[in-house]
């Protein structure tokens, strides 16, 4: 079996007296979509924040492609190829749609001090066409000159995905990609994520909407009170009585 893309091993995280994560072990394999589900407050977002370096774990390590990434700066982890798409839209409201998508590409391209302005101006066109490519991919090309503030919620999510994809991630972390969306927007987002998955992208997805989870996930981990109480294929999770009790709570899935 090949090395997992992301390997979370023995992670604990406490907030004061509250044990937010307890002995978390999680392996994400190349090319799979792995869903993390669980009731509110189960520690899903905390786990994600540990993976991207926003929160240091109290114990344990996160290994990405056999590099230990615990303790690194969030933007360094991002540069290594771990890209997240947030629960609250992480976009730049003062900039146009296209400028938004170009920003992460700038982050990849230049060093901190680039003073060859002639070259910088000449390179701009290439960045723009790259941005246009990804906007077309998520179906936002016709909105490229709009200010982001005027986009619908679904379109903002799509924009964020384009901003994630332009970074050519090796691992895409999605925090509730369809939260607050209409059924129609949810379905288009599922189709889009399926399309991305077919290209071989490894995805970790945190989601409440079971329709989304069972449409996309190859494997599911169930988190409750900071612990992983079950892990398996969607079929196994659906039939697991422990999961039904802790989370699904008798809801029809």
């Amino acid at each position: 079996m090949s090395q997992p893309v992301l390997d979370v091993s023995d992670v604990d995280k406490n907030f004061g007296g509250l044990r937010a994560l307890s002995n978390i072990n999680l392996q994400i394999k190349q090319g799979t979509t792995h869903a993390i589900i669980g009731p509110n407050g189960a520690g899903k977002s905390t786990l994600l924040n540990v993976c991207i370096g926003r929160l240091p774990p109290d114990r344990g390590a996160v290994i990405f492609n056999s590099d230990v990434i615990t303790g690194r700066q969030p933007h360094e982890i991002n540069q290594m190829g771990v890209v997240r798409v947030f629960q609250t839209p992480a976009i730049f409201p003062d900039l146009s749609v296209k400028q938004n998508v170009m920003l992460p590409a700038f982050a990849k391209r230049d060093g901190a001090f680039r003073l060859n302005m002639m070259q910088a101006v000449a390179d701009q066109r290439q960045l723009e066409s790259e941005a246009e490519h990804w906007l077309e991919d998520v179906g936002l090309l016709s909105h490229q000159h709009q200010l982001v503030g005027s986009l619908s919620r679904g379109d903002k999510r799509r924009l964020e995905l384009a901003m994630g994809l332009i970074q050519k991630p090796r691992l895409l972390l999605l925090d509730e990609p369809t939260a607050g969306m209409s059924r129609h927007d949810t379905n288009t987002t599922i189709e889009l994520l399926k399309k991305i998955k077919l290209r071989g992208m490894t995805e970790v997805i945190i989601e409440h909407d079971m329709h989304v989870v069972f449409s996309l996930a190859d494997r599911i981990s169930v988190l409750a009170q900071g612990q992983i109480i079950a892990e398996g294929t969607p079929e196994e999770i659906r039939g697991n009585p422990k999961v039904q009790e802790a989370y699904l709570g008798g809801t029809q899935v």
């Binding site: 700066q73 969030p74 992480a90 003062d94 901190a112 003073l115 302005m117 970074q167």
Partner: protein
């Protein structure tokens, strides 16, 4: 792409460009600047003479250079109240260094000192998360106090004559200080629009969280603008010193207010993320033109503050009404 679709594409581009021109804050402010120029040239026959226009540019150099640094800071959502006193302190450092070192070394020392002071403010603001207003207010007080102490409370007037070459040498009839101003605006404008650093400065001011998600170093680019601002304050005071060949510890008093006013008139949002170098340049020219015009018209200097304050508020009010309408 066929010829036909290409023509269609370019006509769409043209329409969009025209739309943007009508909506562009910079162009509205350029209109205001031109209107002020027209009014002043009607009221005073001297205003539109080549000599006086060169005067306007010449008077724009100091506030213009400081306003570049201020634009960087304000774009990140910060503010730098210390530029005036940093100009004073680095001016004193320049004056003292000129006693013992060659001109280029003395200038480099002054600019390095400005950068260090900016780094101090930047780290407190970017790393420790203190409020920019309060930190730079403190640095403003410290800077002015050190300027008095280092200078021995008097002005330094033994400045080598050669320093004035910075101002009085001309290239193609344009004084070097005005050329430098133009060059710095060009560089700053390109930097903000076309480089990672420039785009990150907008991104940090617009949404820090999103900037992190995009893989941009928020910490570094929260600190950098203060360093640039401190260095540019030193560059500005170098040109000022070259002009008057004397440094006073009070140099640069209230310069921060003129610079902030110019940046804001130029359309930058004090919340960060919005603004441009072109806008700042227009803001600077508006400020200097008004002051120059009031002088030509013989308005008492005591009334000039009221006039400038009223024009700043009026410009922002009009802008706010216009943008509210265009957003609705």
């Amino acid at each position: 792409m066929t010829q036909e679709t290409r023509t269609m594409q370019s006509s769409v581009d043209l329409k969009r460009l025209l739309g943007r021109v009508g909506n562009s804050l910079e162009l509205r402010m350029l209109g205001l600047a031109l209107a002020i120029a027209v009014v002043l040239s009607i009221m005073s026959p001297y205003f539109l003479t080549a000599n006086n226009l060169m005067n306007v540019l010449d008077q724009s150099v100091v506030i213009g250079i400081v306003a570049i640094g201020m634009t960087f800071v304000i774009l990140t959502g910060g503010i730098d109240l210390s530029v005036g006193s940093v100009a004073g302190l680095t001016g004193v450092i320049l004056g003292l260094a000129l006693q013992d070192f060659s001109i280029p070394v003395a200038i480099a020392m002054a600019i390095a000192a400005g950068g260090l002071i900016g780094l101090f403010s930047g780290v407190l603001i970017g790393y420790f998360g203190l409020a920019a207003f309060v930190v730079t207010l403190g640095v403003m007080a410290i800077g002015r106090s050190l300027a008095y102490i280092f200078s021995g409370q008097t002005s330094i007037s033994s400045i080598p004559m050669e320093l004035s070459d910075l101002v009085y040498t001309t290239v193609l009839g344009i004084p070097t200080n005005v050329l430098c101003l133009g060059l710095l605006y060009l560089l700053a404008g390109l930097y903000l629009s076309y480089t990672k650093g420039g785009r990150t400065i907008y991104a940090v001011g617009s949404n820090k969280e999103a900037a992190r998600a995009a893989g941009l170093s928020v910490l570094f680019y929260s600190i950098l603008p203060y360093v640039i601002s401190g260095m540019f304050a030193a560059v500005a005071v170098t040109f000022l010193t070259a002009q008057i060949l004397s440094v006073d510890p009070l140099t640069g008093n209230l310069l921060e207010l003129d610079a902030i006013a110019a940046v804001v008139i130029g359309g930058a949002s004090l919340y960060g993320g919005r603004g441009s170098i072109a806008g700042t340049l227009i803001g600077v020219v508006i400020m200097v033109m008004i002051r120059n015009g009031l002088n030509l018209l013989g308005v008492s200097p005591f009334w000039q503050g009221s006039a400038i304050g009223a024009i700043i508020i009026f410009a922002l009010l009009i802008e706010s009404l216009l943008s509210r309408r265009s957003r609705a």
